[in-house]
């Protein structure tokens, strides 16, 4: 079973790098320690001329003392416990040197009615050590989500969207399954019913301008057409914040967001129920 998996992994890594390169750096998509690896930003569509493409770079900071990461008792699952020699923790609040990882960031408005092609490269969601990797996934509507089980023990991938149709599929062995979401939705919770602590969130956009802050708290939205955009950041415990950014032809704008633990009571929006006529 190892060989095909390694090939897939290699392929995914290569694809990931090429996608990141095509996006002009990718920013927060890169992972440093596996604790806070955001999904690589989706390949930008070719609707933006390279002569005018602009970039928004951002930083997500965390003010004050970060709450201690919640430990996970994996004793019932030795296969997974072995992958966390120092003890496994939850990935909700991943703060390193005052920077907050696992924050979903996306262009909420400003793109008008531009249509963007669906990237052909899949986005990967792996289950490794009884945790999801990445913890936060940025994907485009219609783009393939490659769901992998690297653990080789039973996981079920139970997605619970509100605006999309979800799925709940079983992966009891090392394997890969593909699914997609048809509508934009912020955010779709993902859980494993076998391991109650496993949790991921998927953000779906109709465009490629979404990313996840990396362990360094950085993100980048590249290849944007010049214009005025509402940038929203979403965190699973601290809710959302947004800023309006205007960028001109080939400009690079810098934005920064700051979260703190007082925001723990904030409303955390999920998908909105579809309204009847």
């Amino acid at each position: 079973m190892d060989h095909p998996l390694k090939q897939i992994l290699a392929l995914v890594v290569v694809l990931g790098i090429s996608v990141a390169t095509a996006c002009g750096g990718g920013g927060g998509g890169e992972t440093t320690d596996g604790e806070a690896d955001g999904g690589a930003p989706a390949a930008a569509g070719s609707v933006v001329s390279p002569d005018s493409a602009a970039t928004i770079n951002g930083t997500v900071s965390f003010e004050g003392t970060a709450p201690a990461a919640e430990p996970i008792d994996m004793s019932e699952e030795p296969t997974c416990a072995e992958k966390h020699p120092d003890g496994a923790v939850r990935q909700q609040v991943a703060v390193t040197d005052g920077r907050l990882a696992n924050v979903y960031v996306y262009v909420k408005s400003g793109l008008g009615d531009r249509a963007f092609p669906t990237p052909s490269a899949p986005v990967t969601l792996d289950q490794s050590g009884c945790r999801y990797s990445p913890h936060i996934v940025a994907i485009q509507a219609g783009q393939s989500l490659a769901i992998m089980n690297s653990d080789g023990i039973l996981h079920n991938i139970n997605t619970q969207p509100t605006e999309n149709r979800g799925f709940n599929i079983s992966q009891p062995v090392v394997m890969e399954t593909s699914r997609e979401f048809s509508r934009p939705e912020v955010m779709i919770p993902v859980k494993c019913d076998v391991h109650g602590w496993m949790q991921a969130f998927i953000g779906v956009q109709g465009h490629p301008y979404a990313s996840v802050s990396g362990a360094d708290g950085l993100f980048s939205l590249a290849d944007l057409p010049p214009g005025e955009y509402e940038i929203e950041v979403w965190h699973e415990l601290y809710g959302t914040q947004s800023q309006t950014v205007t960028i001109g032809v080939k400009e690079t704008a810098e934005v920064s967001f700051t979260f703190n633990s007082d925001m723990a009571g904030n409303h955390v929006p999920m998908g909105e129920p579809l309204v009847l006529r």
């Binding site: 039973l154 509100t162 149709r165 709940n168 599929i169 394997m175 399954t177 019913d193 109650g196 579809l274």
Partner: protein
């Protein structure tokens, strides 16, 4: 919201829905009808268009046929009845269309049913292969090694509405939401249960981890775990035996007939209980003219008191009794910040068997919920917390112990989600209110059961109606004499006739001369 312009005719199905469905599912289909508060599992919220029992792939919309089937057959194991015999064809097909108006998802195209071939023939080897894959695809993680819904992940399961949900007890197929034919089970394996933790296993076939036939084998194996729905008989017979089974798992019990007693939640006296764990108890009884022994067998996924299931209990209680404080923790623990409750504080499992204090003439029996002031009942109480007692009940909240030395012998075992309990007592005991078990007379008997890990105790548990226990009478000698006489007489007559006939054929025999 189903908008309806003034003067416009109500959509077909609305009148039927409002009359029969809205009480539980809510006027706008959000599963929030007035009766929903006390239900677990709760009525379906149609606005999400998540339908458990479908022929379409995991997560997908159901076909019209799927919705109709659910209305027709109901959802066994839940409060949802089947409507086939109560509503006309038109009413039911109109309801299907009306339910779809509650969700905008039905503006999307409904995908076709998942395609698959027929079931292979059942064989011993096939069932063994089914079991092999039951292990390989880790069904046991939730459903348990013996299939009783007691797997390691069972206490943590939640549905899409964050409500606690049981892994199905695969040995009680009659409670399967979608039915328990091989094909129904296979269809659940292929399509999963939307809104519930049960996933689809179809991708395993696509990934060539297993074949469709092997998934059929799993379905056949699961079906084999469950007997037909047990027949309920009013009289539990206590066989007369020479030697009573000595222990709860004495193989001698295998020779003694089993009687199934269904249980339901106690919903008459407050606080009520709408979500009992134990839905039936198998009763076996025997006596040796000196003592009576009763063996009770029931499925309960948790061996209470259980720290493993404490979170489950808290979640159940927070749904069923939102006003009740759910955490069990002493002030000391709060001070040390250790919220983990001690096992000793957790609720035990319990079973009470109830009899009348004396055997009534005719059909008059005490009030079935542990008697009343005028007419008490005689109770035998067992608890996994260690107490076994005789008591007198004058109502569920008026139970007093019967003083005197312990005369009740009890033994219980628990394994793989099943509890077995032996209670034994002398037929005759000294003292008032202690029922004398007479042979040959129907003795009113009822059963109460509590699952501590489900938050059950006191009035909040499972109850049965009255049944009868009938102790076989010693068979008197006269019973044997008449058949023996009849056999003997027939034999003598036969000999006489044959002899006569032989004489007729051969003339006078050698001895005839002496006649």
């Amino acid at each position: 919201m189903v908008a309806q312009a003034e003067g416009q005719e109500a959509p077909a199905g609305k009148a039927t829905y409002d009359k029969w469905c809205a009480g539980c599912h809510g006027e706008e289909g959000a599963g929030d009808g007035v009766a929903a508060t006390y239900m677990l599992p709760q009525p379906r919220d149609f606005t999400t268009a998540l339908y458990q029992i479908r022929t379409t792939a995991s997560g997908e919309l159901p076909t019209d046929g799927d919705i109709l089937r659910m209305i027709d057959e109901g959802m066994p194991g839940s409060a949802m009845p089947g409507w086939k015999d109560y509503l006309s064809n038109t009413e039911r097909t109109d309801l299907v269309q009306y339910l779809k108006t509650f969700s905008r998802f039905f503006e999307d195209e409904v995908p076709p049913p998942v395609e698959y071939g027929g079931a292979p023939g059942v064989s011993e080897e096939g069932l063994a292969e089914g079991r092999e894959f039951y292990d390989k695809i880790e069904c046991w993680k939730c459903h348990g090694q013996a299939g009783r819904g007691d797997g390691p992940s069972a206490p943590t399961l939640e549905d899409d509405w964050d409500l606690p949900v049981r892994a199905a007890d695969l040995t009680e197929g009659w409670n399967f939401n979608g039915g328990y034919t091989t094909e129904a089970i296979f269809s659940r394996l292929m399509t999963g249960l939307n809104g519930a933790p049960m996933p689809s296993f179809a991708d395993l076939i696509d990934a060539e981890f297993m074949t469709e036939e092997q998934l059929w084998r799993v379905a056949q194996y699961v079906e084999s775990l469950s007997p037909e729905m047990p027949e309920v008989r009013e009289v539990v017979r206590a066989a007369l035996v020479e030697t009573l089974p000595a222990t709860v798992d004495d193989p001698a019990w295998n020779q003694i007939e089993r009687f199934y007693v269904p249980l339901v939640g106690q919903v008459i006296i407050e606080p009520r209980w709408f979500a009992p764990t134990v839905d039936g108890v198998w009763v076996q009884a025997a006596h040796d003219s000196e003592r009576v022994a009763l063996r009770f067998t029931w499925n309960d996924p948790s061996e209470s008191p259980s720290a493993e299931w404490e979170e489950w209990r808290q979640r159940v209680v927070s749904v069923m009794q939102p006003t009740v404080e759910t955490t069990v923790s002493t002030a000391e623990e709060e001070a040390t910040g250790d919220g983990e409750p001690e096992v000793g504080e957790l609720l035990p499992d319990a079973l009470t068997v109830q009899f009348s204090t004396t055997i009534p003439e005719g059909m008059k029996r005490p009030y079935f919920l542990m008697g009343d002031q005028d007419e008490p009942v005689y109770l035998l109480n067992w608890s996994s917390g260690g107490d076994t007692s005789e008591a007198l009940g004058r109502g569920m909240n008026a139970i007093e112990a019967i003083a005197g030395e312990t005369v009740l012998v009890s033994e219980s075992t628990f394994d793989e989600g099943q509890r077995r309990l032996l209670l034994s007592r002398a037929l005759t005991l000294e003292g008032a209110n202690r029922l004398v078990f007479e042979t040959g007379r129907p003795i009113p008997m009822a059963i109460f059961a509590w699952d501590g890990s489900n938050g059950e105790s006191g009035t909040q548990g499972a109850i049965s109606t009255w049944y009868f226990l009938y102790l076989d009478q010693p068979t008197e000698n006269i019973t044997y004499v008449f058949p023996m006489l009849a056999v003997l007489l027939t034999a003598v007559l036969g000999v006489v006739i044959v002899t006569r006939a032989q004489r007729g054929a051969h003339g006078a025999g050698p001895g005839s001369g002496s006649d």
